[in-house]
């Protein structure tokens, strides 16, 4: 039984790790978050009810650990969500993100987004959850997920499209 639990966790590792990266935007911190989440899962294994979604449970554990870290480092919160407003809609987005972009480049841009935007981007765009699943995971209405998701993606594009953004990275 214990073996199954551990191998289930191993199977979840790639998804957990990508989500941790989306939240923390830092490779070292992401590694630490994943490790801490797995340790916590093993010590609280009794609280998990077989038959329920292990992935949701693990994502919640990981996200709670990340929130604890944010509280411990309040300076990290950079942007107010409401500060992100209307963006130009007639740009040639094609040109700007056609090329494959390095993960580090994307993480650097995501780092400038607020934690709330990173959460929805991580759940929907990175992990592939539906809006409804993301809303349940975050405990917010679907409309909130959609507005954050839309702003997060446009903000991502806008920042990738700035001269400091695109021209800078030789791999772009």
């Amino acid at each position: 039984m214990g073996d199954t639990f551990r191998s289930d966790l191993i199977a979840l590792l790639p998804r957990l790790h990508r989500f941790a990266l989306a939240l923390s935007t830092d490779r070292d911190r992401a590694d630490d978050l994943v490790q801490a989440a797995c340790e916590r899962a093993l010590t609280r294994r009794a609280q998990w009810q077989p038959g329920t979604q292990l992935d949701s449970w693990m994502f919640t554990i990981l996200r709670n650990l990340w929130i604890d870290q944010l509280r411990a480092r309040p300076r990290e919160v950079v942007l107010d969500d409401d500060a992100l407003e209307a963006l130009p809609d007639d740009r040639d987005w094609n040109r700007e993100i056609e090329a494959q972009m390095s993960l580090d480049r994307v993480l650097a841009v995501m780092r400038e987004l607020s934690p709330a935007l990173r959460s929805v981007l991580g759940l929907v765009c990175v992990d592939g959850r539906s809006y409804k699943e993301a809303a349940e995971a975050l405990g917010v209405p679907i409309g909130t997920v959609m507005s954050r998701l839309s702003r997060g993606r446009m903000e991502l594009l806008r920042r990738l499209g700035t001269p400091q953004g695109v021209g800078h990275d030789a791999t772009v």
């Binding site: 214990g2 073996d3 551990r6 191998s7 966790l9 191993i10 590792l13 790639p14 790790h17 990508r18 990266l21 989306a22 490779r27 992401a30 590694d31 994943v34 490790q35 801490a36 797995c38 340790e39 916590r40 093993l42 010590t43 809609d89 007639d90 740009r91 040639d92 987005w93 094609n94 993100i97 494959q100 972009m101 390095s102 993960l103 480049r105 994307v106 981007l121 929907v124 765009c125 990175v126 592939g128 539906s130 809006y131 409309g143 959609m146 507005s147 998701l149 839309s150 993606r153 446009m154 991502l156 594009l157 990738l160």
Partner: protein
Amino acid sequence: MMRPSDEQLMAYADGELPAAEAAAIAALAESDPAVARRIHAFAATRALLQQSFAQAEIPQRTLQFLREGAASAPRARRRLPRWLPMALAASFVAGIAIVLLMDTLRGGAGFAPTAAPAALQAALEGTASGVPVERVIDGRSVELLPLATLQTADGRYCREYSLTPLDPGGAAAERALACRDAGGAWQRQSAPAAAHAAEQGDTYRLAGAEPGAAPAGARRLSPDQERAAMASGWR
């Protein structure tokens, strides 16, 4: 159809719209390049995130952690604070209560050394202070952390160490002392009742010792001295 909102265009790009609504937006995108570009922007951001995050490699540390120890699930593994070896290297940190164990060195009442098991023997013989190792000792999986090396006035070497059980629900960390006898075996010293001691330079003197009585002095070795003692087989 009115100009759709960003949320609607995004939901279309994500395949989250009901069929009828999706058809209306598809038709609009045919005739309105700005709408088409907007839809593309949402599709592109999703693809960008998926592709870039797919480059990430899973943390090997956690993979190993989950693979090993299927028999005894280790509880949250303490990570050795980075400052600890530095602290040990300093002349002495008052917080490290080595001195609490020193009265066992006097060979007084209740002094009952017992031979340490082989795994502990080997670890004490060859592991530098500040370096944690995992061992099975007395049937328990533990993290053994040598804390310091001491030398008694009569030349014997002793090592203070902590043992932290790794099995779930295990007891708290214990601090213990073992001294190397003339035959080269590390003898575990029975833990004394807490005794207060005062530090005097590199020598520890038991506060409880009567004035005038021969103090049970023991010198704490520096990391270099410890290395040298270890290299020469503790002779």
